[in-house]
């Protein structure tokens, strides 16, 4: 019996199951997005981790597609890059067809749903959770093809840590500044509690009637003086266990 997972004899039938992407390798963490009065906004940090190692600190995880759509991705970064290559091809196709039809956020969201679901059905998923935003649209697609639209969306750890904040603070009439402050709050909490998060972030928006813009990365102000961080030892200082 050979221990090789492949056979050198081309006529022999495959003896082991073929391995596909069963786990991610280089990953980005949460993306948070919300609608506000007059637009849609996304936020994500710029860290890509290799397992638990903070490996790439300038990995931009929010990008524009065409002019009116922005996409944020958590999960496998290479899969996200490949998805963006495909979408850029689509944007060029729209130009080539020259028929006045342009993909909008809704159709890109639908397209990604079809792709994600197809890939997972072949047991070879693209390992991403994606947030797609465009004029009046905010949608989510995950690696198994689940989709939904909402007024605010968060992926990864964000669905545990950002969603409760958004539930209590989100209003449909948030101004652009309030929306941005709220997203920064979410990412700050994520940075405090998610070990794969970073305080270097990007914010992106699609304001009504304007093209999508993604900010340059900038650092969040953080404060580690809080009581929760001060007494992490649960009053057991000196017992040698901490």
């Amino acid at each position: 019996m050979s221990t090789l997972s492949f056979s050198l004899d081309p006529t022999a039938a495959q003896t082991t199951p073929s391995q596909r992407t069963q786990y991610p390798i280089v990953t980005g963490t949460s993306v948070v997005g919300l609608k506000y009065k007059g637009g849609v906004m996304l936020a994500a940090d710029t860290l890509c981790s290799y397992g638990s190692m903070a490996k790439y600190k300038d990995a931009r995880r929010i990008r524009t597609v065409g002019t009116n759509t922005i996409i944020g991705a958590s999960g496998e970064y290479s899969d996200f890059q490949s998805i963006m290559d495909t979408l850029e091809g689509h944007t060029q196709d729209d130009v080539n067809y020259d028929d006045g039809h342009k993909s909008d956020a809704k159709s890109i969201h639908s397209y990604l749903r079809a792709i994600m679901y197809q890939r997972r059905s072949k047991m070879n998923p693209l390992w991403n959770d994606l947030v797609i935003a465009g004029s009046g649209f905010l949608g989510y697609v995950d690696k198994i093809g689940t989709t939904y639209e909402d007024d605010f969306i968060a992926t990864g750890f964000g669905s545990y840590l950002a969603i409760p904040i958004l539930r209590s603070k989100w209003r449909p009439d948030l101004t652009e500044g309030e929306a941005r402050a709220l997203l920064e709050d979410c990412l700050r909490v994520l940075f405090y509690r998610d070990c794969r998060a970073l305080n270097r972030i990007q914010i992106a928006k699609v304001a009504e009637g304007e093209t999508g813009v993604v900010s340059e990365p900038y650092e969040l102000e953080t404060n580690w003086e809080g009581a929760g961080f001060e007494s992490t030892k649960g009053g057991m200082e000196g017992d040698g266990g901490w």
Binding site: D85, G89, Q92, V95, N96, D98
Partner: protein, 256 residues
């Protein structure tokens, strides 16, 4: 036809006794009798211009394009059998996008032209296929040289790089006119007008037949993005062209 017939002209896989492939020549004939198409390499980019004859006045203006975008910085124009031409356009788009996917940079014009020529040439090699009845002119930005270049692919599969080229009905006259231009100093903006003048000038006697002029550019001022010209720009160029032509005609009359 001098040495047609005799059964040597029924397949692209048959050589005639004097070494010609008649089917390829016949295919070229279909190009030679269709709308005039010219390409100019100006000092700061490429101009493509093409006359589209309209069979009916109820056709929607701007439909059924002869000039198409291939990739961000390349465009092409064709003349001959429109349906054949579209097939080459599709191939050009596939080549451009697969090159970008593979190498991460836009396809160099020489490579794109070469691959298209291979594609067109393939159809001259098989008994079960026929050669394309269309010529294609390609205007494409070359990153390494930081300039745009001009190629023409013919039904035979031949391809050449040009300063100025022409195909279709008025190609002879167009070549003569292009040779008179100083392409090394001519700007794209002027080139658009000259192209309009040449194509308009070469329209044959049936000048009343409805036609549409298509012009596009790959110009430095647009960062070499391929752009079909706006209707207003074309209208202006056509107006200028007609004035020039009338002036010339007046001068000729004076000479007489």
């Amino acid at each position: 036809m001098a040495s047609s017939g005799s059964g040597y002209d029924l397949s692209p896989t048959t050589f005639s006794p004097d070494g010609r492939i008649f089917q390829v020549e016949y295919a070229s004939k279909s190009v030679a009798s269709s709308g005039t198409l010219i390409g100019l390499k100006c000092s700061d980019g490429i101009v493509l211009a093409c006359e589209k004859l309209l069979a009916n006045k109820m056709l929607v203006p701007g439909s059924n394009k002869r000039i198409n975008t291939v990739s961000k910085t390349s465009g092409c124009a064709f003349t001959g059998f429109v349906s054949d031409g579209r097939q080459i356009v599709n191939r050009a788009r596939e080549e451009a996008s697969s090159y970008l996917d593979t190498y991460g940079i836009p396809v160099p014009p020489s490579v794109l032209a070469d691959r298209l020529a291979h594609y067109v040439h393939y159809f001259t090699l098989h008994g079960a296929l026929r050669p394309f009845g269309a010529s294609m002119v390609l205007g494409c930005y070359e990153e390494d040289m930081d300039e745009a270049s001009l190629y023409m692919v013919e039904p035979s599969g031949q391809v050449f790089k040009y300063f100025g080229c022409a195909a279709g009905k008025g190609r002879q006259g167009a070549k003569t006119e292009i040779e008179k231009l100083d392409l090394s100093t001519l700007t794209v903006a002027q080139g658009v007008k000259e192209a309009a003048r040449i194509v308009t000038m070469l329209r044959d006697d049936g000048k009343d037949k409805p036609m549409e002029l298509e012009i596009s550019t790959v110009a430095a001022e647009n960062n070499y993005v391929h752009k079909p010209c706006e209707k207003s720009v074309i209208a202006e160029a056509e107006k200028w062209a007609k004035e020039q032509i009338e002036e010339e005609e007046d001068m000729e009359e004076d000479e007489d």
